[in-house]
């Protein structure tokens, strides 16, 4: 016959989270790890609440025959242990129940809460592997999200590049198309403020290229782009369509008088001389304008065609003028 103390010691070594109850629900022995959780509790009912079960004093037999037990710690109700019980025969051990417990999925929290170490778990228990895996998982997710962030940054950069005119840094044709599509999203809604397009074509630009070289021409284009950006609001879009053609998309600017005042101001800004090398270079600009609220149904292509037609009309009137598309619109002479 093995002494009870030896049995308890052996159980403690093999099953550090075991619980040995007598017939009345008193704790005869508890594994060293379990003791860290339940303190000095002497009775099952002082330490645990059996989820879905009754108290141990009335049902040690039920604990001892359960295939799967869920026990909530009274000292830390967030922690639920799970386990299986076995009945002990009345002769020899004096009856009662032996229960082996484990953390289950709450392992990480439990380890943290009770300051456990790898020595607190039996090597056959997969606790360490579960901890390892959850931490490896977190590290992998971190690595993958860093990688995703890098891809995202590359995507944003590529997109910006695809929509930007490399010389001037303003939108290119594709960028403008996107901005117009965005403006059209709200078109037709009752609260839609509409928008205006200004097609701008530089006058005398060829002379800058011819007299001072292409580098000077490029400098002039950059200067015009920055003037256009300076004269417009953050919500406006500036685009270079290639050559010496620019387009402004102006959300909410549907008052013809205000729009033509802006066109006038832009032309004056562009006409200010630009110092390139040791020469003061001058260009001018002609502007064709179209306003979305002048249309029953907004068709961006038609608006652009009309703005182009207005631009040609302005050019035909002579340099430095602005024309608003559509009948009865005020014209700004050269």
């Amino acid at each position: 016959m093995i002494p009870v103390a030896d049995i308890a010691a052996m159980l403690g070594r093999l099953m550090p989270m075991h619980l040995w109850l007598d017939c009345g629900g008193a704790i005869r022995s508890a594994g060293p790890t379990l003791r860290k959780l339940i303190g000095k509790a002497a009775q099952f009912d002082d330490a645990f609440e059996a989820i879905g079960g009754t108290s141990a004093s009335r049902s040690v037999a039920r604990l001892g025959s359960a295939d799967r037990l869920f026990l909530r710690l009274r000292s830390a109700p967030q922690t639920v242990l799970r386990g299986r019980g076995a009945m002990l025969s009345a002769d020899g051990t004096g009856g009662g129940a032996l229960i082996n417990l484990g953390f289950g999925i709450g392992l990480s929290d439990g380890v943290h809460r009770f300051g456990l170490t790898d020595q607190d778990f039996a090597p056959a228990d997969l606790a360490m592997e579960l901890l390892f895996l959850s931490q490896a998982n977190a590290a992998m997710m971190g690595e993958l999200s860093r990688f995703n962030l890098r891809l995202e940054e590359a995507r944003v950069a590529a997109e910006a590049q695809a929509l930007t005119d490399p010389l001037t840094g303003v939108f290119n044709r594709r960028g403008l198309t996107m901005a117009i599509e965005a403006a059209l999203l709200g078109a037709g809604a009752p609260a839609d403020p509409g928008f205006a397009l200004l097609h701008i074509d530089l006058d005398l630009f060829k002379a800058v290229n011819d007299c001072h070289g292409h580098a000077a021409g490029d400098t002039m284009l950059k200067a015009v782009a920055s003037k256009l950006s300076a004269e417009t609001r953050l919500c406006d879009s500036v685009a270079r369509m290639g050559g010496d053609e620019f387009v402004l998309l102006l959300p909410g600017l549907t008052d013809p008088v205000g729009l033509m005042r802006l066109a006038r101001r832009i032309i004056e800004r562009i006409e200010e001389p630009v110092r390139i090398g040791d020469a003061d270079c001058r260009v001018s600009a002609s502007v064709g304008a179209a306003i979305s609220t002048g249309y029953d149904t907004i068709d961006a292509q038609r608006m652009q065609r009309d703005a182009d037609a207005a631009l040609y009309a302005a050019k035909a009137n002579g340099r430095g003028g602005a024309v608003l598309a559509g009948p009865g619109r005020p014209q700004v002479p050269a």
């Binding site: 490896a136 977190a138 890098r150």
Partner: protein, 189 residues
């Protein structure tokens, strides 16, 4: 070879030798200098070329660089932490090397390390890796040296034809670095 391994080489070169060194390695091996994709398979020859090119400026061979890489990997706080889960002391850690391929596979399916064998040879350990490529053994040797420091033991490693011979003349050489299983994971975003 799994993209994760090439990525590790890339990160190591960037971290240890700088961005310029990485760009040179990428150019010499025809790799995308923006880096390797994590979940993508690359030819094994590319991995060998990466190690050879990365070592070339310092006059190091591919296997020597694999050793540096192993040590560097074990020094990364996230990985070092995961490695420490394998054993509560250095001797347990060495014996658990047989589990290393399984652990890797569990975390990253598809990342296959050749089988590792650990035997006791008197007081020493004999570690063999079932692969024709010596790079693995060199990488593991570098990792073991770094982990010996981490556990605070003095370890002596010798590579010979029969694999890796590891002796631990002093098992309490330094305090080692602190480790607790309940600390939060490193590298979590």
């Amino acid at each position: 070879m799994h993209g994760m391994i090439n990525r590790a080489i890339e990160d190591f070169v960037r971290d240890a030798y700088g961005e310029g060194a990485w760009l040179a390695v990428a150019a010499a091996t025809g790799s995308d200098s923006r880096g390797f994709r994590l979940l993508h398979d690359y030819p094994d020859d590319l991995t060998r070329a990466l190690l050879a090119e990365a070592g070339a400026p310092m006059g190091k061979t591919g296997p020597e660089l694999a050793e540096d890489l192993g040590a560097w990997l074990a020094a990364q706080s996230g990985l070092r932490r995961l490695l420490r889960f394998a054993g509560s002391d250095f001797s347990e850690f060495v014996l658990s090397l047989v589990e290393l391929p399984g652990r890797l596979r569990m975390v990253i399916p598809g990342l296959d390390l050749p089988p590792v064998q650990v035997e006791l040879e008197g007081e020493d350990y004999r570690i063999r890796i079932a692969s024709a490529d010596p790079l693995w053994l060199h990488a593991v040797a570098g990792m073991l040296q770094a982990m010996a420091d981490d556990y605070g033991v003095l370890a002596v490693l010798a590579l010979d034809r029969d694999g890796l011979r590891l002796s631990v003349p002093l098992s309490a050489y330094t305090e080692g670095r602190p480790f607790s299983i309940s600390d939060p994971a490193v590298g979590a975003a």
